[in-house]
């Protein structure tokens, strides 16, 4: 039970309580909408979980450390971008991983690109993003995020 879970549920609970107190009809309407969204999203969410399971099962943090630590130059950066886009790791894991990558000699650019793509580009969550926001939105956003990640990495490398 971490902070995220507690805070999100606390917020939901408080908002729900206030809403219920103010207007029961509206609250019910909101809850019905929530249920409907939940039903529609269910297969997509399950699919994401299966994907995450597979990816985490086949690619371990050690593997990542090895691949990115050794990689240098453009190849390393592009690998970082690819891995970051595909993987879905909690930030609590990705930052220590990034730290150890830096220590074992990976460039600032590689680590920055990895962290940025890891968080901003979501291959695994793409189905859900497409479902909720539309294919065009999702693809353009992810594409530009990838570009942004590379830019950020390059600037980091130049400055730091």
């Amino acid at each position: 039970m971490n902070l995220t879970i507690i805070s999100i549920n606390a917020i939901a609970f408080v908002c729900l309580a206030i809403s219920l107190a103010k207007n029961r009809t509206k609250t019910m309407k909101a809850l019905r909408a929530a249920m409907r969204s939940g039903m529609n999203l269910a297969p997509t969410l399950l699919g994401i979980l299966v994907l995450i399971g597979l990816i985490m099962g086949f690619v371990s943090p050690e593997t990542i450390g090895r691949v990115l630590g050794e990689g240098s130059g453009a190849v390393g950066v592009l690998t970082a971008a690819l891995l970051g886009s595909i993987l879905h790791i909690p930030s609590l894991v990705s930052f220590p991983l990034g730290g150890s990558l830096l220590q074992s000699g990976a460039s600032v650019t590689t680590v920055a690109v990895f962290i940025t793509t890891l968080t901003m580009v979501g291959f695994v969550t793409l189905p859900m993003e497409i479902r909720v926001l539309g294919a065009r939105f999702a693809l353009v956003r992810n594409g530009l995020s990838l570009l942004a990640a590379l830019l950020i990495g390059l600037l980091m490398g130049a400055v730091l």
């Binding site: 729900l16 609250t27 597979l54 985490m56 962290i115 939105f137």
Partner: protein, 182 residues
Amino acid sequence: MAPGAAQPPQRNSARGWIILAGLLAVATVLLILFPEQREPSFTAFWEFSLEMIWVMPAVLVIMGLFAVWVPKEAVSRHLGRDSGLRGLVLALIFGTLPTGPLYVAFPLTKGLLDKGASKANIFVFIAAWACIKIPQELIELQFLGWRFTLGRFIITVVVIVAMAFVFAWILGDRRTDVPKDM
């Protein structure tokens, strides 16, 4: 149906389950072939499932309440196309406040979009949520140090603001591509 427009919900639902079935089939085959990967796969599946179960219902409730209570005018005014710099900054701040994985942001983003937030501000919101949310930054500080964290923060803000305009420009004003209902 106009190209890019959302499909009717029933068709979407069936397709979703079919894709899921396909994924499960692939997963089953892979895990039969590679017994070593079974345990980490199941563990990861289980852990993320728990996370989702604990978080998604609350998020959907918040989104439902948001859709019903927040007036469209408020969002349009503060985060819409004409909100300018203030809208950008607001979107940035909103994005850095919450905690939670990115997929939590999607329903909230849809809510904002439906109420008239501009594409540029939305991009900034999502990007900020993704990689510069404050709770996460504290962890980054711990593991990557001051220089890296501060540097990445500043550079990221600059880059994503620039990208936000590109994003808005590419997507244009068409509303038909955002699905009416989830």
